[in-house]
Symmetry: C2
Subunit: 409 residues, 2 copies
């Protein structure tokens, strides 16, 4: 008798975003005359950089001719893209990587979800609270999260982030084996400076922990002294895996490309105490269960690193960050506590008068016809907050802020 | 202290294809004047159908304009492709599917590797011997395969395929929870007719087993009465998941697209005996650990189902099957036992005089300068055989057969 992976039964059936979609759909059906603006889901609205479009058009043509056609590519990605990444995303920050340390994939979500394959399910897991749900859910599926309790999952250590600690997790007092960190942060929009990140690297080295560092939003960093990569911190190559994405950097949410850095010097223990290279394990995992990223997509990603591509990416990020500023200013004028949005495309808003996340969501939807994301959906410490994204069209952001102002006044 | 998934340590460090690549590289370095022809690895050589190229060129353009740009797509794929699949790949065979039963992905290898996520690691696993290595290796990684013994993995049941049983596995005498079947078969090139496949469906229904049916090569079927889908057999929707790929059908090895059918009526047991929908579990898995397939790629796949696309696919498959026939005839003239190649792009050749797979590989490489794949690499019953693929250029196939004839005479 075939049996299921029973860990799935422990997950709630509803996801945050499908619950939001259900509520929005019901509202629209009942109010077909209203123009609902979504500042909820983190999808981009600006088109791809022209450099990427042109490069992909050429790559599509390559596939038509027998002499330029490409079949299976390397599972870990083409050298042309790997070398562009090393040269442009790392060397300028003083980080040297070898091509074997860079793994191209179909996106950071896949890699964040699959990375657990190479780690024992007995490791304890640390996450910020609130947090991107994929980290926790993928650990629930594998059995690593343990069982659901009133205080969350039994094998997950939650690191609360709130106004008191400026939404930055405190260094744990106890030992944690695997720690997920995401900076610039989704959903809270905050960043760590080098000193703050150094404390985490030092903690991991002392505790022989692995940091899974999600840097999907690094391109939104505006200030100096904010690290773009965890490898800007000495020792990080001995304790950290870094995830990067082209989704928000260059509008690749529908094109699917990201990459993961697993340093050659990163090891973890086998049960017999022997140290094992995580780079080799991830390579073996990808060679067994993945067959590389589309050649066309990789050519599109490579083009981001041309002069033309860089300028187009910069323009798009400036566009979104202007949205963020506009929204930040709007909420500040209303006297609402607003966080994030300075080095990240997310704003984290304290609901007025202590009303709950979902109540505020409902009020915004019904009274201002604006969709946000309830903070509680990202974890218990998100209660009393909502997340807004800066990825919308400018005119939608402006219109949304106008309505919110009218409604809140 | 972070610890690794120790199951990785049980895998051999060398993969079949990297060992082949190493030997070929060494030979070429020592014999730079020789023109080595590869009939080894299963990659295609013909370019994409023009219909797909044109559709992808248009899709790339869509991504340049703010009004036609596409961000995140549905995790399970766009309706335009799902509906084309149902209409063209299933309805003509009398199979009705709902869109929720079709999951688009970046390829059958990913899906075959990841499907284990939704099943308990305590299930027993049945595979043919020889077999595509991904099935076994992905079970080793998850711990489901058990431990390595002299007779193979302790929790894997091997179903030998040899000349005696016409390379078709016998229905097991004992109970197996999960059974991998691949027809048309890689590496042996054989097929099952409807009666033979019905026996497997009946076995699975009686034993409450799940069949993981890899139909990646169905487009190569030439004869009537050979099922293209397991769902042509009554009852299969209650016991089987089917994997399909555009890689070999339409040259998508470098573009990455496949799909998996998980019927709504397919269930398996939870530990408490309750029946759980595998469709819901796979949907949850994909929503958590995958973010959809490239929009551009999906438009390219959709175009395969246009009249122009179908004709181009047919021409390419005819080209490869002519290669297969040419190779089959060549070996038959030499008095060599040759199997497959009639409804599949693979030929399975008995080595002459009972010499070993690797010895024959070495001789072919050194004396005819032709690369094949040693059968032993696919499992113990592959000893004494080599696999040849029909995916080469015509002139290479002809030249390879000329050399093989000269060498063997």
């Amino acid at each position: 008798m075939a049996t299921i992976n029973e860990n799935f039964l422990k997950l709630f059936n509803n996801y945050l975003f499908s619950e939001i979609a259900r509520k929005v759909k019901a509202f629209k059906e009942n109010h077909p005359d209203r123009n609902v603006i979504s500042l909820g889901i983190g999808d981009v609205t600006q088109p791809l950089p022209k450099a990427s479009v042109d490069a992909m058009a050429r790559a599509v043509k390559d596939m038509e001719n027998i002499t330029t056609f490409r079949g299976y590519g390397p599972e870990h990605g083409y050298d042309f893209l790997i070398n562009a990444i090393i040269k442009n995303d790392y060397l300028p920050h003083g980080i040297e990587l070898s091509p074997s340390e860079v793994f191209i994939s179909d996106g950071a979500k896949s890699d964040c979800g699959n990375i657990g394959d190479i780690l024992s399910i007995n490791n304890s897991v640390g996450v910020t609270d609130p947090v991107y749900p994929v980290y926790v859910d993928s650990n629930v599926i594998s059995g690593r999260a343990g069982n659901r309790t009133n205080a969350g999952w039994s094998n997950v250590i939650y690191m609360p982030c709130n106004a008191e600690n400026h939404f930055k997790p405190r260094i744990p007092q106890r030992h944690i084996d695997i720690i997920y960190l995401c900076f610039p942060n989704n959903p809270m929009g905050v960043v760590l400076n080098k000193e703050e990140l150094r404390e985490w690297v030092d903690y991991a080295l002392e505790n022989d922990s692995i940091i899974l560092y999600d840097a999907a939003y690094e391109a939104y960093i505006q200030e100096e002294d904010i690290p773009h990569s965890i490898y800007e911190i000495a020792g990080a190559k001995e304790c950290a895996i870094e995830f990067r994405s082209f989704s928000k950097t260059a509008g690749f949410t529908g094109v699917r490309c990201g990459y993961t850095i697993v340093p050659e010097s990163l090891t973890a223990s086998a049960p017999d105490g022997r140290r094992v290279s995580l780079n080799q394990l991830w390579n073996r995992r990808q060679c067994t269960k993945f067959n590389g990223t589309s050649y066309i997509t990789q050519r599109g990603a490579e083009a981001i690193y041309t002069e033309q591509g860089k300028e187009q990416v910069r323009n798009t990020i400036n566009y979104y960050m202007t949205n963020a500023m506009l929204m930040r200013n709007g909420f500040e004028e209303l006297g609402v506590h607003v966080y994030g949005g300075e080095n990240a495309p997310y704003l984290w808003i304290k609901t007025p008068d202590g009303i709950s996340s979902w109540n505020f969501f409902d009020q915004m939807l019904h009274e201002a016809n604006v969709v946000v994301t309830p903070g509680i959906g990202f974890g218990p410490s998100g209660e009393g907050y909502v997340r807004l994204t800066a990825f919308g069209h400018r005119e939608d952001c402006e219109e949304a802020m106008k309505r919110i102002k009218q409604w809140m006044n």
